[in-house]
């Protein structure tokens, strides 16, 4: 039974790891950190795999865990983003070095993390407002307000990066 569970878990991971990595990266903004957090989320998922698989939606559990780990990680004082007037020297870029991040990623980086998580879940994962609220353990009203504020920030960032002219973004009620 245990072997079957582990096999099912590994099969599920092989199918969903790329999606989880992308979600983690968009929320936390760092591929290496995203990999670490996804691995931790997978460990937590495996520890309750029997229950979660029986409930029928391991992806929701994994997604929720990944996003919460990203948000929690940034809450810890020693791990907070430190603003620099000039960028420090870096040995290598976070990505594979074949160019800079897509404009959407750079714009998302300017959105506060809570709002960023809402935008990623709503527009990258295509979750409904209710599903987003469940993933973040918050209310639908909070999701709407966070999305609305996040869109304003994202719009300004996209405009500053030259991706759009004068966008008008509103969250549907």
């Amino acid at each position: 039974m245990r072997g079957q569970d582990e096999e099912a878990f590994r099969t599920w991971v092989s199918a969903r790891r790329s999606s989880l990595r992308a979600t983690a990266y968009l929320v936390c903004g760092d591929w290496y950190l995203a990999d670490d957090l996804v691995q931790e989320a997978l460990a937590r998922l495996f520890s309750v795999w029997g229950k979660v698989a029986a409930a029928g939606d391991p992806e929701a559990y994994a997604r929720r865990t990944v996003v919460n780990l990203c948000l929690d990680h940034r809450r810890r004082p020693s791990r907070r983003e430190v603003p620099h007037e000039t960028l420090p020297d870096r040995a290598a870029a976070d990505h594979d070095g074949d160019g800079e991040d897509p404009v959407l990623v750079r714009a998302l980086a300017e959105v506060p993390r809570g709002q960023r998580a809402v935008l990623v879940l709503r527009y990258w994962e295509d979750l409904s407002i209710e599903q987003t609220a469940a993933a973040l353990s918050t209310s639908t009203g909070n999701v709407k307000s966070q999305a609305s504020r996040g869109l304003v920030t994202l719009r300004a960032a996209l405009a500053r990066l030259g991706a759009i002219d004068m966008p008008v973004l509103t969250e549907e009620p």
């Binding site: 990595r21 290496y32 309750v48 897509p102 990623v105 008008v168």
Partner: protein, 239 residues
């Protein structure tokens, strides 16, 4: 930019991820450790509660403990006004002599089941139970001291009837309870009393087993009787 354009922007964005560094084997090993740790913690909590409850019970056995300090044992007296129906359902004095008592410090977890536990302090008690998918904890709290529940009365709070129909908890706003029984589904159980360390204005109690007769109302069809330490009925619910 419209909503649709925004969604198109998200969908059209191509990420360039570096090589995948996720070690699934390590995740599985760590997951196993987490599971073992969680189970061990739950088991130790249950065993700890049993040890505490057992030691309290041992201390108050007549002729064994030799002291009435901390007595929580009561011989439920047969009330002359008890109805025949109640008499047939009521437990016998031999089988119902005492409620185990756990005196819990603030923050101490008193495990009800391996994935649910009570905490209690002078102000309130809370029951925390993992939802069936293990993703979150359902929390039920009840104040002991806000005055909403008069002194000397009993109230009941079931856990989530969907996920934990087997858990039944309640509050008695007094400190003189020696025995609390819960009758449901044709059987009577002795509840475990959970008392906050130090001065207390009330106690919590719990039982496990088939009590939910009509989910999602786990407390319906359940009768609670609180006896004092001399075996006299203090209060019944429903009255």
């Amino acid at each position: 930019m419209s909503e649709q354009q925004l969604q198109d922007l998200f969908r059209g964005t191509q990420l360039r991820p570096p090589a995948d560094r996720i070690d699934v084997d390590a995740a599985v090993r760590r997951g196993r450790r987490r599971r073992r740790t969680r189970r061990a913690a739950a088991l130790s909590g249950v065993l700890g509660a049993m040890v505490v409850a057992g030691s309290v019970g041992y201390a108050v056995l007549p002729g064994v403990g030799g002291s009435d300090v901390g007595t929580r044992t009561a011989q439920p007296a047969r009330s002359s006004s008890a109805t025949t129906a109640e008499s047939t359902q009521a437990p016998s004095p031999e089988t119902l002599r005492r409620s185990p008592v756990v005196v819990a410090k603030p923050g101490q977890k008193v495990f009800v089941t391996p994935d649910s536990y009570l905490t209690i302090n002078g102000q309130q008690y809370c029951l925390r139970a993992y939802e069936v998918d293990g993703t979150a904890m359902a929390v039920t709290c009840k104040s002991l001291s806000d005055g909403n529940q008069p002194k000397g009365t009993v109230s009941t709070q079931g856990a989530s009837a969907v996920h934990h129909p087997e858990i039944f908890t309640g509050v008695y706003t007094g400190t003189d309870a020696g025995l609390i029984t819960v009758t449901a589904a044709g059987s009577t159980k002795v509840a475990t009393i959970v008392e906050p360390a130090g001065a207390a204005s009330g106690v919590a109690f719990f039982t496990t087993g088939p009590t939910a007769t009509t989910p999602p109302h786990p407390t319906s069809g359940v009768r609670v009787t609180v006896y004092d330490r001399s075996g006299h009925v203090l209060v019944k619910l429903p009255g």
